[in-house]
């Protein structure tokens, strides 16, 4: 009844081609920028972080529905599950960042009279930083594997104990991720602007990646449907995905405004420097980030009808996916390069990592039935509707 996904040679060839193009462009870009180490490493960090964060965002999507006892999402659950399996691969990219630490993070080599940075040394030093990076990746990999494994186990067993066990592990996931999502964002992104600090930053980054993950789920759902799979997904499911994208885009904008407004209003130079630099040197991109990521999904998905049409959803999702790439760009570039640069290197590396990401997704998605048919809430997913 539910057509199993087959990772055909055609898709493989396409994705390999994508990766090869990406790799070639990356090599060209790297060669062109050999004397700009900052730029190369900034690209590694951006793509490493963004796609890992999307994978974790997708895992969060699964877990939060397990804990919230959601029923509707079981029809699409295997998509975020398969996305989440990218975490170890993304982790490898993040380990690469450790190699280029010196070019990204100013705190790796503080000036001897920089008392602020010297004060942060107990936390921000290469050894501890590397340990933390490895811990995040190890913990996250363990968690996403665990959740996935239990979901796959449900395909061959209807034991209700498995369901309870999944819920317990989801609890463990949420606790560990609640802590590591913030700390990893401080480590990997916030510490680029080594003197700057913002308590909200971790949550902001988390929501940014969650929105991107929802966008990614929608994009992949569209692709799968185009290929003739996931025919069982109906308008109600799209409506709900649309609501997620719509609602959390607004929530992201809310956090953006909260952070900006408080720093703007208080006008403390140590804090405003972050936005001053971005507004002056990244003016257009800085404002585009807000406008694209808030206004586009807000206006496109406000009406009920658009949330229920795959094409409209896709448009919003694609915009949001690239929009949050820009969000990461605005977070990383000013502290590493200090000016906006966009060229072959950026296009190439993003294409390459996207290719790897998609390859990982399709490979994982082909490994299991496209729906968890034995999930206790599975039938609910086809018998509900949204209020008109």
């Amino acid at each position: 009844m539910y057509k199993s996904f087959e990772f055909t040679q055609k898709i493989k060839t396409f994705l390999i081609a994508l990766m090869v193009i990406g790799a070639v462009l990356t090599v060209v870009g790297v060669v062109m920028n050999l004397d700009h180490g900052h730029r190369i490493w900034a690209n590694v960090l951006l793509n490493g972080f963004y796609f890992t964060a999307i994978a974790m965002g997708a895992a969060f999507f699964v877990v939060v529905h397990i804990l919230g006892e959601g029923g509707w999402q079981t029809s699409i659950q295997r998509i975020p599950e398969a996305i989440s399996q990218y975490v170890p691969i993304g982790g490898v990219t993040m380990l690469l960042v450790l190699v280029g630490m010196h070019d990204i993070y100013h705190w790796t080599h503080p000036d001897p009279d920089d008392t602020i940075l010297l004060g942060k040394v107990p936390f921000l030093n290469p050894v501890f930083f590397s340990i933390r990076t490895i811990v995040y990746i190890a913990v996250w990999t363990f968690l996403v594997f665990k959740i996935r494994k239990m979901s796959l186990a449900s395909d061959s067993s209807t034991d209700i104990k498995l369901f309870t066990k999944t819920r317990n592990w989801a609890g463990v996931f949420i606790v560990l991720f609640a802590i590591t999502s913030s700390t990893s964002a401080w480590d990997w992104i916030m510490s680029i602007d080594s003197h700057w600090f913002s308590t909200l930053f971790g949550w902001y980054m988390f929501v940014s990646s969650f929105v991107a993950a929802v966008a990614m789920i929608i994009i992949l759902l569209f692709v799968l449907r185009k290929m003739g799979y996931m025919e069982h997904v109906n308008e109600e499911h799209m409506h709900d995905l649309g609501k997620y994208l719509f609602g959390f885009s607004i929530f992201w904008a809310y956090l953006w405004v909260s952070q900006y407004l408080l720093i703007w209003y208080s006008n403390i130079p140590e804090e405003t420097i972050y936005f001053v630099q971005r507004q002056e040197d990244f003016g257009m991109i800085f404002w585009a980030n807000v406008i694209i990521n808030f206004l586009a999904p807000f206006l496109i998905l406000m009406a009920r009808g658009t949330k229920r049409k795959m094409n409209w959803l896709l448009i919003a999702a694609v915009i949001v996916f690239f929009g949050h790439w820009i969000d990461m760009y605005v977070a990383i570039w000013p502290g590493t390069l200090g000016h906006a640069d966009f060229g072959i290197l950026e296009i190439g590396m993003t294409t390459l990592v996207l290719g790897v990401f998609l390859f990982s997704f399709f490979r994982q998605f082909a490994k299991a039935p496209v729906v968890p048919e034995n999930h206790p809430y599975f039938k609910e997913s086809f018998d509900y509707d949204n209020i008109r």
């Binding site: 405004v257 900006y260 407004l261 703007w264 209003y265 006008n267 406000m302 009920r304 008109r388």
Partner: protein, 172 residues
């Protein structure tokens, strides 16, 4: 003074109600109203009701509220009484956001609620006729307006299994 005649019958369960409505529709009986103790799932599609335009009214009011909220603040601080606070520009957009948002929501909410009340002829002192006081308790009532054919309507209601079929004469 005009007199209107209605025929009503009720069902104790919402499932029977929907079946009965479908049967009546097959017999080409026009259904004037259906009254239920709670929103019955799927009734709107069976009765082929048009989707409410309230969301649109709410949206328009929200846009107006947004424009008024932002416009007024901008006018106050650039034209009416420019006020220096902390050396910030008079036209300080970020600090206009909260009030603008609140007014957007307030206007939209008022439009929705009053739109709902007016479209449904509800409100303080509204004199809608209640044909059966048990409707708000546990009866799912079908209401048909008779145009000299009260007897045949009563029959068709009985034939689809309605209970307590009766005639109401209302002066209006």
């Amino acid at each position: 003074m005009q007199e209107k005649t209605y025929v009503s019958g009720y069902f104790p369960d919402d499932k029977d109600l929907i079946v009965a409505i479908k049967e009546l529709q097959e017999k080409n009986v026009a259904i004037t109203d259906v009254r239920t103790p709670f929103p019955v799932h799927g009734l709107d599609t069976v009765l082929k009701m048009r989707r409410s335009r309230l969301p649109r009214a709410g949206f328009i009011a929200g846009v107006i509220g947004c424009a008024i909220g932002f416009g007024f603040q901008a006018w106050v601080f650039t034209e009416a009484w420019p006020l220096n606070f902390g050396g910030k520009p008079f036209m300080s957009v970020p600090s206009f956001i909260p009030v603008t948002f609140e007014l957007t929501v307030l206007f939209a909410a008022f439009a929705l609620v009053f739109g709902f009340l007016m479209r449904s002829n509800l409100g303080p002192g509204s004199d809608n006729i209640i044909f059966d006081e048990e409707v708000t308790n546990d009866r799912f009532q079908i209401l048909l307006e008779a145009d000299g054919n009260a007897d045949s309507l009563q029959e068709s209601l009985q034939s689809v299994g309605a209970l307590g079929v009766q005639l109401h004469e209302v002066k209006s």
